[in-house]
């Protein structure tokens, strides 16, 4: 049953998501022009190129923002519609557990949210990469990075460990994001009935404006953990082997991740309880 739910959740979410994703990708194209202009000017502050670069940059920024917002929202629109819209009759008369329906929503939400950021990254990266000026920037970055670390440990090992640990950490942060928004929608849907949509928009707006603290806080927590650890061992940085350093940082991140996972489970549990016991579809 979960697979069937996933099939439909993916299909329906994709219908709106692809619009945002395409917008994001397309708006990264002007970035190549921007890079070209920026790297070709000797004195960026006065030349004509700058005058052109600034609006182009805004175009990129605007397009990316709209695209990302649409992509991100597509997931929540699907959640709301399926549980609280007209379709709710259909949804809750299916021979499927409510927790299964929720799990399916969560899994597809994670996929599309992460993929939204992948698209963002790919768009920006290829735009930077594809411009001549961008190549120079990239080479400079690569040289600086590798010269610093080449002397410490094999680059591949660093890349692998950092990617895995940070990847797990980011997944937990994304999950907090998704689950807290799910909980907001569920709560408003159950207790605000007619005005649920209004309440959700208000709640999302507030959270969005205050820098999405549900993302910022855990991220900050993660970085604080890293800084705290590196700060503590600052004096012994040289004497501590590079492998040990990486492992210590990794461990700190994992601890934060475990805490985040506990919070995620609580958020998911709350949403499920509301769906199971308190939801009166009218």
């Amino acid at each position: 049953m979960l697979r069937k739910c996933l099939k439909y959740d993916f299909k329906e979410t994709f219908k709106l998501w692809w619009v945002g994703a395409l917008t994001t990708l397309l708006s990264c194209i002007p970035m190549t022009l921007v890079m070209r202009i920026m790297t070709n000017n000797e004195d960026p502050s006065i030349s004509d190129g700058t005058l052109l670069a600034i609006p182009l940059f805004f175009l990129v920024w605007f397009g990316m923002m709209i695209g990302t917002v649409i992509s991100t929202l597509s997931v929540y629109i699907r959640y709301y519609r399926h549980f609280f819209g007209k379709e709710a009759y259909l949804t809750f008369t299916l021979p499927v557990k409510r927790s299964t329906l929720f799990t399916s929503k969560f899994m597809s939400a994670m996929f599309f949210t992460i993929f939204t950021y992948v698209i963002l990254f790919v768009g920006l990266f290829s735009a930077v990469f594809l411009s001549e000026g961008g190549m120079g920037v990239f080479e400079a970055f690569e040289n600086g990075f590798s010269s610093g670390l080449k002397s410490l440990i094999p680059a591949a090992m660093v890349g692998a460990v950092v990617t895995v640990v940070y990847g797990i950490f980011l997944t937990a942060v994304t999950a907090i994001n998704v689950l807290s928004y799910f909980l907001i929608i569920t709560f408003c849907g159950v207790y605000f009935k007619k005005y649920s949509l209004l309440a959700i928009i208000v709640a999302f707006y507030i959270l969005g404006n205050f820098g999405s603290f549900v993302v910022a806080l855990p991220l900050a927590g993660g970085f604080l953990a890293i800084f705290g650890v590196t700060g503590l061992v600052d004096a012994n940085l040289i004497s501590m082997g590079p492998i040990q350093l990486v492992l210590t940082v990794g461990a700190a991140l994992l601890l934060v991740t475990i805490a985040l996972t506990a919070i995620n489970m609580l958020l998911a549990f709350l949403s499920n309880e509301l769906l199971e016991r308190k939801l009166n579809v009218s």
Binding site: M1, K4, K7, Y8, R81, G85, K86, E87, A88, Y89, L90, F92, T93, L94, P95, V96, K97, R98, R277, L279, N280, V281
Partner: protein, 241 residues
């Protein structure tokens, strides 16, 4: 020759059901109801007496405050939904969907869904499977919804006002479909205001008042014989303002 019913266990049992939307305003109070297989039962009552609420409780859309619902002897759960085919009183389709997509959706989640039958019925009613729901009139949407519900081989069919927004020719078709779908293993509950249209098709009936109070119930034909009048006339007398 009467067909042997192997299983005479009631399909639906409601025990002391209570449900209220606001405090001190119960929609259903200690409601008890029972439906046997092979029967078409009419649940007749004024607007707001709790008929729709009852069907929503049985189908799992609402959760009762207290009391028990048993489907084929089992406590109501999401598994019961596989046995129930429920038609709510208003359409629930998302506008952008195509009719045939709904057929696929039903076929996916309900093993007892007969896609061929559904397509035939849509053809009979002149509904294009490739049409999107937003292009259909309200009456057509309701017909489409009924097709989906009746194309399943469920144990319990619950039809909330199936004849409401539909023209008389379609009403005949709908009634004939309900009758034609009859099986001694399954039961049908119909709620309606249009008692006169539905009367001849009913086995049993129940007059339901506010709070879920059952004023009169029994076999339709026997009651007509005893009372010497139609259920429609009887209803007007019982519920006279």
């Amino acid at each position: 020759m009467t067909e042997q019913i192997l299983n005479t266990e009631p399909i639906l049992v409601c025990k002391d059901l209570c449900k209220s939307y606001k405090k001190n305003k119960p929609v259903l109070k200690d409601f008890n109801f029972c439906v046997e297989p092979g029967k078409i039962t009419g649940l007749l009552g004024p607007n707001g007496c709790g008929k729709s609420t009852l069907l929503k409780l049985i189908s799992g859309i609402l959760v009762p405050d207290s009391g028990e619902i048993l489907l084929c002897g089992q406590k109501r759960s999401e598994k019961s939904n596989a046995l129930i085919s429920y038609l709510p009183d208003s359409p629930y389709f998302s506008d952008g969907q195509k009719v045939e997509n709904m057929l696929t959706y039903f076929a996916d989640f309900y093993p007892d869904f007969d896609k061929t039958l559904a397509l035939n019925m849509l053809g009979d009613l002149g509904i294009d499977p490739k049409a999107r729901f937003r292009t259909l009139s309200k009456g057509t949407k309701e017909k489409a919804q009924l097709v989906l519900v009746m194309s399943r081989k469920a144990r319990l069919y619950m039809l909330d006002e199936p004849l409401g927004g539909v023209d008389p020719a379609a009403r005949d078709y709908i009634l004939r479909t309900i009758i034609g779908n009859y099986s001694p293993d399954s039961a049908v509950i119909i709620t309606t205001h249009l008692i006169a249209d539905v009367e001849p098709a009913l086995d049993d009936f129940a007059f339901m008042n506010y709070g879920g109070e059952i004023l009169l119930s029994g076999n339709a034909d026997e009651t007509r014989e005893e009372q010497g009048k139609s259920l429609d006339t009887l209803f007007r007398e019982v519920f006279a303002c």
